[in-house]
């Protein structure tokens, strides 16, 4: 069923408005609930809490799980056994390197946008009782919250996101390799980064993760200025991370820049899709629920 009766006020809530909201939890709720209401009776249900089986009551079981209706019908004590909500660990990998702090033509920086995206995903996962974890990294892992489905865990993730401070240089491949080595069960890894790193390194890290049986979704966040390079007049372009400088006339290098950007994007798409990794590039000036829609779309297709 197509999406109907969307709540436009929330569905197209501008990231700038979200950014002004007080806390990360509120931001996440705003985005997700807006999205959910917009996808009323949507086929994209994602991970649902699934009923597994009944088993006989054993002393020591939680009485709250006792199914009184079955007892009324059969005069036997059964407890409802739900499928383990931790059957899917979702790891949110958020790049917090300096390049993520860049804010050109968008109302928020890539880091803010990525944080809201991560919080929104965490909120959504939490509502679906999936275990969600958070890894913030630059060239190394700066913060890590293990995946958990506990109700209070969402708050911990949101709190961690709020307290994130920008890191240093980025090295996306390295934390990916570390995570791949650490994961022991089927998981979902969501990488939120600008991927302005050496593409081969990034791809190797992601492939390593994928080869470990992990589902991977990659959100590449790019600022409108990075996407369109709208600068005028000669400028000394200074790399935020490496402090490298290049003096260039935008009118002269715009074409080559866009071409290189497109090549990089095509490379990621080609390499990642090839190993079953979903790759999505997001414009940080666009509403955030697009990102969630893309995420669910990708997941449904994976299903």
């Amino acid at each position: 069923m197509p999406a109907t009766a969307p709540n436009r006020d929330l569905r197209f809530l501008d990231p700038a408005v979200i950014a002004r909201l007080a806390t990360m939890e509120l931001k996440a709720r705003t985005v997700v609930e807006g999205f959910l209401s917009g996808l009323h009776r949507s086929p994209y249900k994602g991970f649902s809490v699934e009923f597994a089986e009944y088993r006989q009551y054993l002393p020591g079981d939680d009485l709250s799980t006792l199914d009184w209706k079955v007892y009324a019908r059969s005069d036997r004590h059964y407890v409802k056994k739900f499928e383990e909500e931790t059957n899917l660990d979702c790891h949110l990998l958020l790049d917090v390197s300096k390049s993520m702090t860049y804010r050109g033509g968008a109302p928020t920086s890539k880091l803010e946008y990525g944080s809201v995206l991560a919080a929104s995903l965490a909120y959504l996962m939490n509502r679906q009782r999936d275990a969600t974890g958070l890894i913030a990294f630059d060239e190394k892992i700066l913060a890590r919250l293990p995946a958990s489905a506990r109700p209070g865990h969402l708050h911990a993730i949101l709190l961690a996101l709020e307290k994130l401070s920008p890191g240093d240089r980025s090295d996306v491949g390295r934390p990916l390799h570390q995570l791949a080595e650490a994961l022991v069960k089927r998981s979902l890894a969501v990488l939120i980064s600008d991927l302005l790193d050496e593409p081969d390194t990034v791809v190797r890290g992601l492939k390593h993760l994928r080869h470990r049986g992990t589902d991977v979704i990659v959100f590449q966040l790019l600022d409108p200025h990075e996407l369109r390079f709208p600068f005028k007049g000669a400028a000394r372009f200074t790399d935020i991370e490496s402090a490298d400088e290049i003096t260039a006339d935008p009118s002269r290098v715009r074409a080559s820049y866009l071409k290189a950007l497109e090549e990089m994007r095509a490379f990621y798409e080609r390499e990642l899709r090839g190993v079953g990794i979903d790759y999505l590039m997001l414009d940080t000036s666009k509403p955030l629920d697009f990102a969630l829609l893309a995420y669910l779309d990708a997941r449904s297709r994976r299903k």
């Binding site: 007049g233 400028a235 260039a248 290189a260 950007l261």
Partner: protein
């Protein structure tokens, strides 16, 4: 390269501005934080090099524009260019003395020869007498020769100083200059003026020769009942000549005289003093032609001319007044009197009327509104008006033509009594002395009784108390009203001894305007009067214009004496270099090219800057 206004070059220091900006902002690209710098490593080096080239071109264009602006305002000129060519000024004497036979022709030939000798020099030709004029500016030799051929003698005297001053002005400073004087080298040309020539100007003197003898009429003096003409022989031999006295171009008297060498002779012409304008001429084919005739006004402005306005034709009115005014005093100078009837006076133009110092109105017959304009002009110029009451004088007509407000109101009154002078110190009565008492013997049977009013001042009254002689100011002039008759109809005043001095002093008082010069030398004539000898009517005046008698002297100097008489100034006045520089700069006009190049530089700057 020199500059007329070098201070403007200080403005060239502004070129430091773009240079400093260029150095300080060598990399004009501002820093711009960015993330995907690694994707920019495509062609920055090539771009930067091109930009540096553009910056240098921009810098050059801006520096050039500022330099050209400052340089143009400083008005550059090539000082060295002036010294490459010498300037020769050929000064030809065109004074009266050059009118001697053959002298001017010789002078022209010598001047043409000087043009030929000038070779590659730039040649200027000036003609001088008491002033010097450029007749051929710097140009082709053919133009100079043509201008020389057109020079003719004038009537002015020689003043070498005028030629030297003009040459000093024309010859550029700090460049070789040469002055060639061509003339008869008349000694009187040095008279009364200091002839000085800057030392750096070479002087060459060309003697065109002169007259060996010259007769000149040097003076005409009116004396009692005769005119005295002075004839001078400047030559070394006695000269016999006819002396003619001419009136209005017609010979009245001819005298044959012999004038001793280097001496003057007075030639009297009896019974000619009453002629208004005369000329005396001698025959002198060998001398200067301009001084053979001299003009004189025997009735100059200092002797008041009186116009008596009387009734219609046949009227004897004005007889006594005219006779009284024509009576000569001890000095032999009376008044020039003319009697005109009313219509004749009314037909006169303001210029005609202005020739008179005093107008006496004894009748208002024939006067109309035209008289009002003439009298207004006449009084405005300081003329005097005498009005005498008489049976044919209408007070209302007087009030009309004289714009009197309120109008004059007078009525006849009999038995006025005798004259009683109120103020013997008045200029009219001051010279009476012994005859003052005679005024009391005159009985006035009739007189006007004036109504009070107006701005009359009483000078004399009758014993019956009525004003007899009153005056009032009118513009710059003066009006005197005698309230009784001057034609012996209302009194017997003309028969008394006091009448003549009364009439003369009244007219003299009324005509006491500032005496005007009626005799001029050719070089001194007022503006608008032609500079030639003769009796000349100009602006309602009659002028006698004559040549300067000093020019009649044939005494000459040799070229060596001539050179010795000139004071050689050691250096030019300080203003000369500046003026010469200004002329050189004006001639070259490099600033125009500078501004054009400035425009080119600005266009180039715009073009390069927009790339």
């Amino acid at each position: 390269m020199s500059f007329l206004s070098p201070l403007y070059l200080v403005g060239a220091a502004l070129i430091a501005l773009p240079i400093v900006l260029h150095l300080l902002r060598r990399d004009v690209a501002p820093p711009l934080p960015f993330t995907a710098v690694r994707l920019l490593r495509v062609s920055p080096i090539e771009r930067s090099r091109r930009r540096r080239l553009r910056d240098i071109l921009l810098l050059l264009a801006r520096v050039a524009a500022l330099l050209l602006l400052a340089g143009s305002f400083a008005r550059p000129y090539l000082a060295g260019a002036r010294s490459s060519t010498r300037t020769t000024v050929i000064a030809i004497d065109r004074s009266l003395s050059m009118s001697a036979p053959g002298v001017m022709e010789r002078a022209r030939a010598l001047a043409r020869q000087a043009v030929d000798e000038a070779g590659a020099d730039r040649v200027l030709v000036i003609a001088f007498d008491q002033r010097a004029d450029v007749v051929a500016p710097t140009g082709a030799a053919a133009d100079a020769r043509l201008a020389i051929d057109e020079i003719t003698p004038s009537f002015a005297a020689t003043r070498y100083a005028s030629a030297f001053d003009k040459a000093s002005d024309l010859l550029p400073d700090q460049s070789p200059g040469r002055l060639v004087i061509v003339g008869d080298l008349q000694r009187s040309g040095f008279d009364g003026s200091t002839a000085a020539l800057p030392q750096e100007i070479d002087l060459a003197v060309r003697d065109a020769g002169g007259a060996s003898s010259n007769l000149a009429v040097t003076e005409i003096r009116p004396e009692t009942r005769r005119l005295l003409a002075t004839i001078r022989n400047f030559g070394a031999a006695p000269r016999e000549t006819d002396v003619r006295l001419e009136v209005a171009g017609r010979t009245e008297v001819t005298r044959r005289v012999t004038v001793p060498p280097a001496a003057s002779l007075d030639v009297p012409f009896d019974n000619m003093a009453s002629r208004a304008a005369v000329d005396v001429a001698v025959s002198d084919p060998d001398g200067f032609s301009g001084d053979n005739v001299r003009y004189a006004l025997t009735d100059p402005r200092g002797r008041p001319r009186v116009l008596i306005v009387v009734g219609g034709p046949g009227s004897t009115s004005g007889f006594y007044l005219a006779r009284a005014l024509e009576a000569e005093d001890e000095s032999g100078t009376g008044f020039a009197v003319r009697t005109a009837h009313g219509p004749e006076f009314a037909a006169m133009t303001p210029a005609d009327v202005a020739q008179y110092s005093v107008i006496a109105i004894l009748s208002t017959h024939g006067l109309d509104r035209r008289v009002r304009d003439s009298l207004r002009t006449f009084l405005g110029a300081g003329g005097g008006l005498l009005i005498a009451a008489a049976p044919d004088v209408d007070p209302s007509v007087l009030s009309t033509v004289l714009d009197w407000q309120p109008a004059l109101v007078a009525r006849d009154r009999g038995d006025a009594g005798v004259l009683a002078v109120s103020d013997l110190r008045h200029p009219i009565f001051r010279p009476f002395d012994a005859v003052a008492a005679n005024l009391g013997q005159v009985s006035f049977q009739h007189a006007w009784q004036l109504q009070p009013g107006g701005s009359w001042r009483v000078i004399a009254s009758y014993t019956q108390g009525m004003p007899a002689l009153v005056e009032r100011a009118a513009a710059q002039g003066r009006i005197v009203l005698f309230t009784s008759d001057l034609d012996r109809r209302w009194n017997d005043f003309p028969l008394h001894p006091a009448f003549v001095p009364f009439a003369q002093e009244t007219v003299r008082y009324l005509g006491a305007r500032a005496p005007e010069t009626a005799g001029y030398l050719v070089a001194d004539v007022p503006a608008g009067v032609p500079a030639r000898p003769g009796i000349i009517q100009a602006e309602g005046r009659t002028l006698a214009v004559n040549v300067d008698v000093r020019e009649s002297d044939i005494d000459r100097v040799t070229p060596a004496e001539f050179a010795a008489l000139i004071a050689r100034a050691p250096a030019r006045p300080s203003s000369q270099p500046a003026r010469a520089a200004e002329e050189a700069e004006s001639r070259q006009g490099y600033w125009r090219y500078g501004l054009m190049l400035l425009l080119v530089a600005l266009v180039a700057e715009c073009f390069v800057g927009s790339r």
